[in-house]
């Protein structure tokens, strides 16, 4: 973490907005933690090692294309803060011309 500008970009990417106090604390935390981890892992020789993303070697788990019993629309919408005509409502994202 080089500077607060980088923190700002990161905050934006993570879809967060931070208070000044939070930003200061996170800046220090990210710097300290990443320095510690970088030092720790620098001693590890991984030149001949392949990355391991998952413990299971399963790939492409498909199911048969059968009809199932999905949740009802009103159940799915029951937790939504705002709905319109049986749909999730979001603020307008396209500007009017």
């Amino acid at each position: 973490m080089k500077n607060h500008e980088e923190l700002k970009q990161l905050t934006n990417m993570a879809a967060l907005s931070l208070s000044d106090i939070e930003a200061e604390k996170l800046f220090n935390d990210i710097r300290n933690i990443s320095q510690y981890l970088a030092e720790k892992l620098s001693g590890l020789d991984t030149r001949n090692t392949e990355p391991m993303v998952h413990v299971s070697d399963i790939t492409n788990v498909f199911r048969d294309d059968n009809e199932s019993d999905p949740l009802k629309r009103e159940e799915l919408l029951s937790n939504a803060p705002e709905t319109v005509n049986g749909c999730f409502a979001v603020p307008k994202i396209i500007e009017e011309i």
Binding site: L16, L26, A38, L41, P51, M52, N79
Partner: protein, 486 residues
């Protein structure tokens, strides 16, 4: 007779023998929760009315001859396991109002087995924490000493079972989140092999590490609960297809000739003296029963926590991307546009620890960090796994303490995220590699605080793991915390 002090197996016998009624049993647990929850904070939600009605239903089924493996057993679920119609918060403001329209597979299985859901348990918000000090609903206290933490992230589950506020609990374990609190609270915590128990309906944090498992008062109970929750589920795409055995069959007290590996890296620096002492006493117990203990080496130990820290942050940052205030959960009130709605909702809905995890995860996969952090950690993951695979060529089970220390004081490590993670140094490898592991009570330290013994087994060899843990438990005796707090 204190009904709430009985194990699952003891309670089942009394219910089936008509010595006790389910309504009476459930009422005893509700009283215990009423008396202690204000102090301990183990529950976020108590389902008083639901479980009284359910007690009646199960009793009727039982009286008409229906056979249910967990008939009438009062249980609780961690609040990151989705329960149809019952508030599920993940200990976060973000989900403070989330009433799931569906059940997790585990919840459904427990319901079908006849268990009675007492309520939902406190935890670290979205599993981000190791001491249960990071919950929107307040911290959980350790029943052995209210000044100390119960461990985390499933502090509520361990504290509830230890303080007789649930007959058993079910939670999830991403790096020790069941075993470490079990060790701190003097109960049994089992992390099954990755893929044995369905994660459908488990609110995702670190998906490639976490696995659902029980916290119980005995090893036999862990086997009984595992029987009820294990099994293939098409709704969890990494769920294992193989059929699982009846785990109680393995509990025969015969561990003659079992080969146990003691990792030499785990007994060096950083371990509390009396925790080490208890370990060596436990090894003598195993040897007296005919097990063979030999030293094994895990040279990659020092990299395990670092690799987990990076990979879990990355997975969590991705998993927590779904909380946007649109479909469920918290939504901020004032926002000029959609982008602002997401940011405000997330900033107001998540606690600081969760924000730090998201920021770190985003940082580690950034352009400048992807190779040096994320990819390096993935490679370290393989090396840590290979250490264990080599050891399992020689031995059947790894034996070590669960945590190098006993429960620490609340607030002691609040500003030390790395130090906090070090309490997972012995437990995290089982998640990195996907192995099964269990923590069983192993006496107390000089302050009278419980310490745990951890056994780690080969993938899908829960049978041998439970057999060894059960034999150990039967040849030692530890008092329950109820005596300490009341």
């Amino acid at each position: 007779m204190e009904l709430t002090r009985l194990t699952v197996s003891e309670t089942l016998k009394k219910i089936k023998g008509k010595e006790i009624g389910i309504a009476e049993l459930v009422s005893a647990y509700l009283d215990q929760i009423e008396n202690l929850n204000k102090t301990i904070g183990a529950y976020i939600t108590v389902c008083r009315e639901d479980c009284e009605k359910r007690a009646e239903d199960i009793q009727n089924k039982l009286d008409t001859g229906e056979n249910l493996p967990l008939a009438g057993i009062p249980a609780a679920l961690a609040d990151n396991i989705v329960t149809r119609g019952v508030l599920t918060t993940c200990a976060s403001k973000m989900l403070h109002n989330f009433i799931p329209p569906y059940d997790s597979t585990v919840s459904e299985k427990l319901r079908n087995s006849g268990a009675v859901l007492l309520g939902k348990l406190n935890m670290d918000e979205f599993s981000a924490g190791n001491s249960n000090e990071n919950s929107y609903y307040g911290p959980v206290k350790n029943p052995w000493d209210f000044e100390r933490v119960p461990g985390g992230s499933n502090g509520g589950a361990a504290a509830a079972v230890a303080a007789n506020m649930a007959c058993f609990a079910v939670g999830s374990d991403a790096c020790g989140s069941l075993r470490q609190p079990a060790s701190f609270c003097g109960v049994v915590g089992l992390k099954p092999t990755y893929g044995l128990v369905s994660r459908y309906g488990l609110i995702a944090f670190a998906s490639s590490f976490e696995q659902i498992g029980p916290i119980t008062r005995s090893v036999e109970d862990a086997a009984v609960v595992l029987n009820a929750i294990a099994g293939h589920d098409p709704k969890d795409s990494v769920s294992a297809k193989s059929r699982h055995p009846d785990y109680t069959v393995f509990l025969n007290n015969d561990i003659k000739g079992i080969r146990m590996g003691l990792p030499k890296e785990y007994i060096g620096t950083g371990i509390q003296a009396d925790v080490r002492q208890r370990l060596f006493e436990a090894l003598k117990v195993f040897e007296s029963m005919g097990a063979v203990v030999e030293e094994v080496s895990f040279p990659m130990t020092e990299y395990a926590v670092s690799a987990y820290y990076i990979l879990s942050s990355v997975e969590a940052a991705s998993n927590l991307g779904r909380y946007d205030g649109i479909r469920y959960g918290y939504r901020a009130e004032h926002y000029p546009d959609a982008g602002d709605l997401y940011k405000k909702t997330r900033s107001e809905g998540f606690g600081f620890g969760v924000k730090r995890t998201i920021m770190l995860g985003t940082y580690f996969t950034g352009r400048d960090c992807y190779d040096s952090f994320y990819k390096k950690a993935l490679k370290a993951r393989r090396l840590v796994t290979e250490d264990f695979e080599k050891a399992f060529d020689k031995v059947d089970i790894i034996v070590c303490p669960t945590v190098p220390v006993t429960a620490f004081r609340a607030g002691e490590k609040a500003d030390d995220p790395i130090g906090m993670h070090m309490s997972y140094v012995y437990t995290v490898a089982a998640n990195i590699a996907g192995f099964c592991a269990i923590s069983v009570p192993n006496g107390t330290d000089s302050k009278g605080l419980p310490t745990g013994l951890q056994l780690i087994g080969k993938p899908f060899d829960e049978g041998t793991l439970l057999k060894a843990a059960h034999a150990f438990e039967k040849n030692t005796r530890f008092d329950k915390p109820f005596d300490v707090i009341c």
